[in-house]
C-alpha cells in the first residue's frame, strides 16, 4: 500500500522544509495569494515560488492565476485516509525528533554532559 507510493515520498520531501511547512500551515486556514504566503518569511520572491513549485509537485497544494493574482490552496485529497494518517504519525515523530535534536544541542552547549 504505502511501499510503492512515490507520491507519499514527494509529500514527505515537501514537508521536510520549515518554510514549506509554514506555507502549508497558512493554507490550512484558507486559500492565499503568493504574496500573502511569502509574508511571514524573509526570503525572496523567487525562493517563495520555488517552494510553491515543490508543494505543487508533491500534490499538497495547487495554484491558479486570475488576472495578476496567483491564488494557492491546499489540495487535501493527495493522500488516502490511510496514507494521511501514517503521514501524520511521521510528521509528529519528525517534529519530536526535531525537538529532541534541538534539546540535545542545548544540553551540549550548557556543558551538562559532564554532570
Amino acid at each position: 500500500m504505502l511501499n510503492d507510493s512515490s507520491q507519499l515520498d514527494r509529500a514527505f520531501q515537501a514537508l521536510s522544509d520549515p518554510v514549506r511547512r509554514g506555507m502549508l500551515s497558512r493554507l490550512s486556514r484558507g486559500p492565499a495569494s503568493v504574496s500573502e504566503l511569502a509574508e511571514p518569511f524573509s526570503i525572496s520572491l523567487p525562493a517563495v515560488l520555488q517552494h510553491l513549485k515543490a508543494l505543487e509537485e508533491s500534490g499538497l497544494a495547487r495554484s491558479e492565476k486570475k488576472g495578476r493574482v496567483r491564488t494557492v490552496r491546499l489540495e487535501p485529497r493527495t493522500l488516502s485516509a490511510a496514507e494521511s494518517w501514517i503521514a501524520e504519525q511521521r510528521t509528529q515523530w519528525e517534529a519530536r525528533l526535531d525537538r529532541f535534536e534541538n534539546y540535545v544541542q542545548t544540553l551540549k552547549r550548557n556543558g551538562e554532559e559532564n554532570d
Binding site: R21, Q89, Q92, R99, K108
Partner: protein
C-alpha cells in the same frame, strides 16, 4: 509487507551517545522536548528496565490534557530503548476504547550508535497496527489530516527559529 505500518526515522545528532542517551532516558530531560509547544509535559516517569513504566502527561493552554502509560520492553543504556503503548508497567495490557481517548497501540524502537567525531546516529522505528487504530485516532479529533499536521510542523519550525 506486514499488516501494519512501519515508520523509520533517522538523524545524525551532533552530540556523543552518552549525552543523547541522557536526554532520552531522564524524566527531567524528556519533559523538555516530549510535547510540541505550547503544550507541556508536566509529568514524566520512566523505569529503565523491561516491564518498567513509561508515563507522560501532556497539557495545553486549550485544555488539552492527555496521559499515556507505555511499557518499557528493552533497555541497553546508551544504545537502545524499546517501549510499547500496548501495555503499561508490569506488562499489564492497556485498554483502547473506541472513543480513542486512550490513544492507540504502537511500539517504538529507539537506537543510538556512535557515528564518530562525537556524533550519534539516532534511529526511531515506530510500528503501528492496522486500520482500526486509524479510526481510533480519527475519533480523537485529529482527522482533519494535513491541516493538523501542517499546524504542528509550523509550530515546531517556529520554536526552532525562536531558539536559533
Amino acid at each position: 509487507m506486514t499488516d501494519g505500518n512501519e515508520l523509520r526515522l533517522e538523524r545524525t545528532l551532533d552530540a556523543p551517545c552518552e549525552l543523547v542517551w541522557k536526554a532520552w532516558s531522564r524524566p527531567e530531560h524528556i519533559k523538555r522536548w516530549w510535547a510540541p509547544r505550547p503544550y507541556e509535559t508536566p509529568e514524566c516517569e520512566i523505569e529503565l528496565r523491561p516491564g518498567g513504566k513509561f508515563h507522560t502527561r501532556m497539557t495545553g493552554p486549550d485544555g488539552f490534557d492527555f496521559s499515556g502509560t507505555a511499557c518499557v520492553l528493552e533497555v541497553e543504556p546508551g544504545e537502545r530503548i524499546v517501549w510499547s503503548t500496548t501495555m503499561k508497567g508490569g506488562y499489564w495490557p492497556n485498554e483502547f476504547p473506541a472513543d480513542g481517548c486512550n490513544g492507540f497501540p504502537f511500539t517504538a524502537i529507539h537506537t543510538f550508535e556512535d557515528a564518530g567525531a562525537g556524533k550519534t546516529r539516532y534511529t526511531a522505528t515506530v510500528l503501528h497496527a492496522n486500520a482500526k487504530d486509524r479510526d481510533a485516532h480519527a475519533a480523537m479529533g485529529f482527522d482533519d489530516g494535513w491541516a493538523t499536521c501542517a499546524e504542528q510542523m509550523a509550530e515546531v519550525a517556529q520554536s526552532l527559529a525562536a531558539d536559533a
